[in-house]
């Protein structure tokens, strides 16, 4: 059951030029968190922007009751969030939305993240690992310094294939090119992806062409985060009449549901 509460910040640090990791304690909320869900956070309780900001669950430790988020500074809200200090409290609502579906039996899964879109895939990787899955992660960014989650991924114990646009590490080019070049479709049972829409579109196309099922996590501007305001509407397929709500019906949807 989702809730709203104040999380005690126990860690907050910059991990790249414009990305931060923030960890806070909220045991009741932490206990409910599933990979692919998100929290709705107030960057500042007294001031700053009116609305909450949606951020994916990046990592969750149910034992310690903590939740970790990975965020990129893009505007007023995320800029304010950077000012939060250890021992401050952050006001958080969650977990919200429908997360990734997890396989019933151990499978060969491929996780494809682009930029800060890698965030939800970390907690997902942790869950898949516990299910005994064989996990490969393709992770694309602009340059080496933006590849921020290596430690987490290594700790979880997955195979990582980085791609950088400038080739400073790993494959030189788009992560979708890496996918086409280096991944043998027959070795993959399921694909999960999160990142820029063109990237996810490419991944979904690859998956469909090769008959591999999979899921993607979408973004849309949100007000309520719980399906009440009907603000985060989106048509999954061009011919749809009905608009789904990313916050409630998603943010995760199967490739079969979406036409990018």
């Amino acid at each position: 059951m989702p809730s709203v509460g104040k999380g005690l910040v126990i860690g907050h640090h910059q991990v790249s030029d414009d990305m931060y990791e923030i960890e806070f304690i909220l045991p009741a909320m932490s206990a409910e968190c599933e990979p692919g869900q998100f929290v709705h956070i107030m960057p500042d309780m007294d001031n700053g922007p009116l609305l909450r900001r949606p951020l994916s669950l990046y990592d969750v430790d149910k034992k310690s009751g903590s939740i970790t988020l990975l965020y990129k500074v893009v505007g007023q809200g995320t800029r304010l969030l950077t000012r939060v200090r250890n021992k401050d409290y952050v006001d958080v609502m969650g977990p919200l939305g429908r997360g990734f579906s997890l396989p019933g039996v151990a499978q060969n899964v491929l996780l494809i993240g682009g930029g800060v879109g890698i965030a939800p895939l970390i907690y997902l990787a942790r869950a898949l690992k516990e299910l005994g899955c064989n996990i490969k992660v393709l992770y694309g960014t602009g340059t080496r310094s933006e590849l921020v989650v290596f430690d987490k991924l290594r700790q979880i114990g997955v195979e990582i294939m980085p791609a950088t646009m400038d080739g400073t590490v790993g494959y030189k080019g788009l992560v979708t090119d890496l996918l086409a070049d280096k991944v043998n479709p027959s070795e993959i049972d399921f694909i999960y992806t999160c990142g820029p829409e063109p990237m996810m579109a490419g991944v979904a196309q690859f998956a469909k062409q090769n008959g591999i099922p999979g899921e993607a996590s979408l973004e849309e501007h949100m007000a309520c985060g719980v399906g009440a305001c009907l603000g985060c509407a989106r048509k999954l397929k061009a011919e749809d009449q009905h608009y789904i709500k990313v916050c409630k019906d998603g943010p995760v949807f199967s490739f079969a549901e979406i036409d990018f």
Binding site: L50, M93, E220, A223, C224, A228, L230, C232, R234
Partner: protein, 313 residues
């Protein structure tokens, strides 16, 4: 506040009667910001809310506007949902029973393209149990009047209110559009049409521009501005109407805490509604009701009606 004088045993009465709607406390949640209640069930006890005004409902199902539908602005937000809703019948059969079962005080919010549509929805509601009042959203474009809003023409306001009144025995609460030159004139027209109370204000019409894309942010270009930004305008209009019109007022526009709610009550609102505030704090309705109660205890105000309109000169 007079902390020294608190007497926690003191009984204060925060129940109100809003033109025939009995509310256990003066804090309602506003239409379109609380879905059909269920969306917030994990965050607040639905039966504890003064009244839940459900999402605006039309005769037929509506799919709503193309996205983006919401945008943030300084101390406010724009929305252009486009009245997405499942239609009145589905509301009555699928959504209402849940709210009734939870013990919620439910106010329906209706909208139509023509006077006949408003009347038709009202008559469907009349045949059902479990609704405490009808709030009429008259800020929709009036098809017969070439798209000008119902709520901007006094004559039309009077007629559409009268038409709904004639179909229902429930209290009828027209919700006034603030996008008018003379709000008092509109309020008087609603009164002449037989309104039992007035809800004010709906959103101010606004827009935002994405300077990178060089186009409007919202798919619909224009949207309704809500939140703290509009509070001064809402207070002013309620003040004006309270002075000239006898009907009880459901006041709102930017309420984020109990102090804001008291401002509305002091300019003449018998009850208040919270819209955008729900998105920020999902149990705000309870917090505000509690804050009002505490304020009354601390200030030895036994009945909330003593505060209604107290700042109006």
């Amino acid at each position: 506040m007079n902390k020294g004088l608190i007497n926690p045993g003191e009984l204060v009465d925060i129940s109100v009667n809003l033109g025939g709607v009995k509310m256990k406390n003066p804090v309602a949640v506003a239409s379109g910001t609380f879905g059909y209640g269920r969306e917030y069930e994990d965050f607040i006890n639905l039966s504890s809310i003064g009244a839940i005004i459900v999402k605006g409902t039309t005769l037929e199902v509506r799919n709503g506007n193309k996205p983006p539908r919401v945008a943030e602005t300084p101390a406010g937000m724009l929305n252009a949902i486009g009245l997405e809703n499942p239609g009145i019948d589905k509301f009555l059969t699928e959504y209402l029973p849940y709210l009734n079962q939870k013990g919620a005080t439910v106010i329906a919010n209706i909208a139509g393209n023509t006077i006949e549509e408003y009347a038709a929805i009202a008559s469907r509601i009349e045949s059902c149990q479990g609704i405490a009042a009808i709030e009429m959203n008259i800020s929709c474009p009036n098809v017969k009047q070439g798209g000008l809003q119902f709520g901007t023409n006094p004559e039309t306001v009077m007629r559409v209110v009268a038409a709904v009144k004639s179909e229902t025995s429930l209290p009828v609460i027209p919700k006034l559009s603030p996008n008018v030159t003379d709000i008092v004139e509109i309020a008087k027209a609603a009164e002449a049409g037989g309104a039992d109370a007035l809800a004010m204000i709906n959103t101010l019409l606004g827009m935002a521009v994405d300077i990178k894309k060089r186009q409007p942010v919202l798919g619909n270009i224009f949207g309704g501005l809500s939140g703290p930004a509009i509070k001064p305008v809402a207070l002013r209009m309620i003040y004006q109407v309270y002075k000239e019109v006898k009907l009880p007022i459901l006041g709102g526009g930017g309420i984020m805490n109990y102090q804001d709610a008291l401002e509305f009550i002091m300019v003449g609102a018998t009850a208040v509604s919270i819209g955008t505030g729900n998105f920020v704090n999902p149990h705000i309705a309870g917090d505000v009701a509690q804050g009002i109660q505490q304020y009354m205890e601390e200030n030895h105000i036994k009945n909330i009606n003593e505060l209604v309109g107290i700042a109006v000169k």
